[in-house]
Symmetry: C2
Subunit: 511 residues, 2 copies
């Protein structure tokens, strides 16, 4: 898109701009600790060992704001010098969401990790971006108010990134996704202005649903510095059970049966034979081991009577569909072990890597009726390639993950993985599905998004982006490409970001 | 904002533009029936007897498209001539949402009222904008698939308007609001381009959540011509019960107790003594009559066992809070009667009007813990004014409606009503609430929105509007004022709508 001479020009202006911006942030905030340019720090903020995509570029500085006002000042200065800003919290995203294709300042919320308000009677909580969802739930448990936050992505995810990606997790089949749990957001806009999306009612029809827009926008429209979240009542009791099936198709049919019967399961997860083997190999539920067959994991919650009733309905449905031996965790400890085996599946897979191996983990979602077809064909393809690959997912949402192990230094293996993922995404799209149910687009899935929704829909997204961030400094290059010379807007060349693309040599093809 | 000479200029250009636009629509669509300029038609599309605000302006034509392509052609032509477009479906909105402050073409979807696809196994349905939610549910019941659409606003509301206002209703405490049930939308943009917001997965994190943005945008960002909606499983059984309380505060405390206990009630509604009297007077549940006391209406749903369990928990909570004599509908017929008494409360109130009387009905929502305070103070104020006014609402969402009867020809009464509503909205805002929980902003609550969120947040909404509709032709003047000369955008004077404001003489003060 750019000629070399344009890039060179940008490179020169950028060096000056960057230095000026960093100096001005330090001068304005009066605190040298707020900015780091330490090499290790830059690396941990631009590279991820579990992401499907890594760029050879890194941020040029990491900022550690303490307050919304700090973030506003940083944004104002970066806006002035046209320096990109990339929000960072847990760093667990999978599609290069916090990578720094154009350098810029990574804004790490490490020091903004507190609960600011707990409104017990209103069943809500006001938090900063870097509190983890598990930490939040631990703190809520300590307050003994019988409330919890139900969105449960990867264990180390934090609220800021969870808002950015509109994440979900195993609880989504019962409780929905991140966008369903946000009451209001404090957002720093591209130029440093600060807005609040709503006041604090649990329901509102007042103006555009900015919560819904900012959630899932991956920091490309504004930087969230505070969030008011709804809380749910902790159920009286839980039960966890697993049931295995001869084939993945029978497991999927059983899951569809549970959905169509309207059983309010708390969670319903599928893990294939390979993933069950990973659990056994990891030893995380030792001494207990599991049949290495396609398996449904269920969590039931509610009153004792309703849990018993739901279990009996689900048992009937699964056994009608070939399910064998419904087994239950025998106590709370085993429930936790079992569920953590599911929750830590990606980490278990990563732990099995040898020297040069890497894991490509990605997700898609399709209408419920197509899930079995998609899983079956995708598994067959992986098996035929002789790769170690597993499937697991949130089957009640039509959403699943594929994790493939490969030798990252073997170009042929890399090519095979890429083709596998590419084919799976295309199959999902052909079944009216989406290229991502919960991981979001980041840098890695931009082409898939375009294929999924078409240029005109992505153009609408770009028009919104352009209106709120005319200099394209907010996490540029994520979700959509930076339109250096935007079509059909009033922006001139001088209005768009002028920071350079640095050495994109090792960039993986975006499936 | 405009000088008279500017207005005159616009008036002249407008006459020419309007004629050209209407002629071109007829010529392009080759069907005279697609456009009506009949006086009665214009009136029913610009005036509403139950809206809190009516303008003296009317649309200049009503278009009756048959397809998305018709709507796209109409938009393309109106865009060319800068003629406003106002979508219309059920016409039941309450805040002047479909009024025509700048004239323009009302787009009535009367002929687009069908189910286009029913995907039973995926639990979704594709519909056109003018299907009513009751009609949709009747059709689904006839298909006997055990599925229903759970969003239940006023009985005659239609899907198009329900999307526009992000409506909800009595089921919201269990099932959420309109935005939670949309899988994808087909949207005609201001210039006639057509986009689809998503494919058909129930869950997605692919790019900006355009569903969330278009739902609740009142037709100001695009015109929805098709919607894919999630469906829910019809519960095995229902039960409806009512319990009265000595005071509204005790009723509110009981409701809060039910929420905090996490009882999954299907509905939980409050009606004050006056509203119970309206039900009795309307005779809609005859021969049964009700105590004219603050009353909670409950709907329970689920399996027989879980319904029985929920009823017993709720009975315990209500009796601890002063609830008297939990009474149940004795059969399905009585359940329906009872619930329709609640659903038709606004119509019951309208039916009691004498000659010159009108009803002002509006809604607010606050954090749960503040609901009792707000209702108590607001009722006191209404009583002290000696007006016939009732309160009812979706108490589990912190959302309630106030309906006040007044003589529309008595300026003093009108002034009293306006002050009452104004005070209630301000009180809600002071309690961190919203000026509307489900009716949306329309023309009537623009000042309240500004007070609720502040200029900078409304500016963000305006920037989004400007980016998708630079000529401000889509339902202009709703949610926010038309910025004839927008600040901080690249638009020139020639880029913004040039249609005139006609005779805004009788416009009521906004809320």
């Amino acid at each position: 898109m750019q000629t070399t001479s344009e890039l060179d020009f940008r490179q020169i202006s950028w060096r000056t701009y960057k230095k000026k911006a960093v100096n001005e942030i330090v001068a304005e905030l009066g605190n040298k600790d707020i900015i780091s340019t330490d090499d290790e720090d830059l690396k941990t903020h631009g590279y991820s060992e579990w992401s499907t995509v890594n760029l050879d570029t890194l941020p040029v500085a990491v900022a550690y704001p303490r307050t919304t006002e700090d973030v506003a000042a940083i944004a104002r200065i970066c806006h002035k010098y046209r320096v990109p800003l990339i929000p960072f919290s847990g760093g667990t995203s999978l599609e290069g969401n916090f990578s720094a294709p154009y350098g810029g300042v990574s804004v790490d919320f490490a020091f903004m990790d507190r609960i600011l308000q707990f409104n017990k009677d209103d069943m809500d909580v006001v938090v900063q971006p870097s509190i983890g969802w598990q930490d939040l739930n631990q703190k809520l448990a300590n307050m003994d108010a019988g409330l919890f936050f139900p969105v449960d992505p990867g264990p180390t995810a934090k609220i800021g990134g969870m808002i950015g990606t509109n994440c979900s997790g195993t609880n989504a089949v019962r409780y929905g996704t991140m966008k369903d749990w946000v009451i209001n957001l404090t957002v720093v806009l591209a130029d440093g202005r600060v807005i609040k999306t709503r006041r604090r009612p649990r329901k509102s029809s007042a103006g555009y649903n900015l919560n819904g827009l900012f959630v899932g926008s991956e920091g490309t429209l504004g930087i969230v510095t505070e969030a008011t979240l709804k809380l749910a009542v902790i159920p009286e009791t839980y039960s966890v059970g697993v049931v295995s099936f001869p084939t993945i198709r029978e497991a999927a049919a059983a899951a569809a049966g549970v959905m169509r019967a309207g059983v309010p399961v708390a969670c319903m997860e599928i893990m294939d034979d390979v993933q069950m083997r990973v659990v056994n190999l990891s030893g995380s539920t030792a001494p207990r081991t599991w049949k290495e067959l396609p398996t449904l994991f269920f969590k039931f919650s509610g009153s004792k009577a309703s849990v018993a009733e739901n279990i009996s309905t689900v048992q009937a449905i699964t056994s009608r569909n070939g399910g064998e031996d419904f087994e239950f965790a025998k106590d709370e400890r085993e429930q936790k072990l079992l569920w953590s085996a599911r929750k830590e599946s990606l980490w278990s897979m990563l732990a099995l890597r040898k020297n040069d191996e890497d894991v490509w983990s990605t997700d898609v979602a399709v209408p419920l009726s197509r899930l079995a077809d998609l899983i079956e064909v995708s598994k067959k393809e992986m098996d035929s390639l002789g790769m170690f690959a597993s499937i697991l997912g949130h089957i009640g949402d039509g959403n699943f993950h594929e994790s493939i192990m490969y030798n990252k230094n073997d170009p042929q293996e890399l090519e095979k993985v890429e083709r596998c993922v590419h084919n799976m995404v295309n199959r999902a799209l052909n079944m009216e599905g989406t290229c991502t149910g919960e991981h979001s687009i980041g840098w890695g899935k931009k082409e898939s998004l375009l294929k999924e929704l078409g240029q005109e829909t992505v153009d609408v997204m770009a028009m919104i982006k352009q209106s709120l961030d005319p200099r394209w400094i907010l996490n540029p290059g994520k979700i959509m490409d930076v339109p250096w010379l935007p079509k059909e807007t009033h922006a001139t060349k001088a209005d768009v970001a002028v920071t350079p693309i640095r050495r994109l040599t090792k960039q993986r093809a975006s499936e």
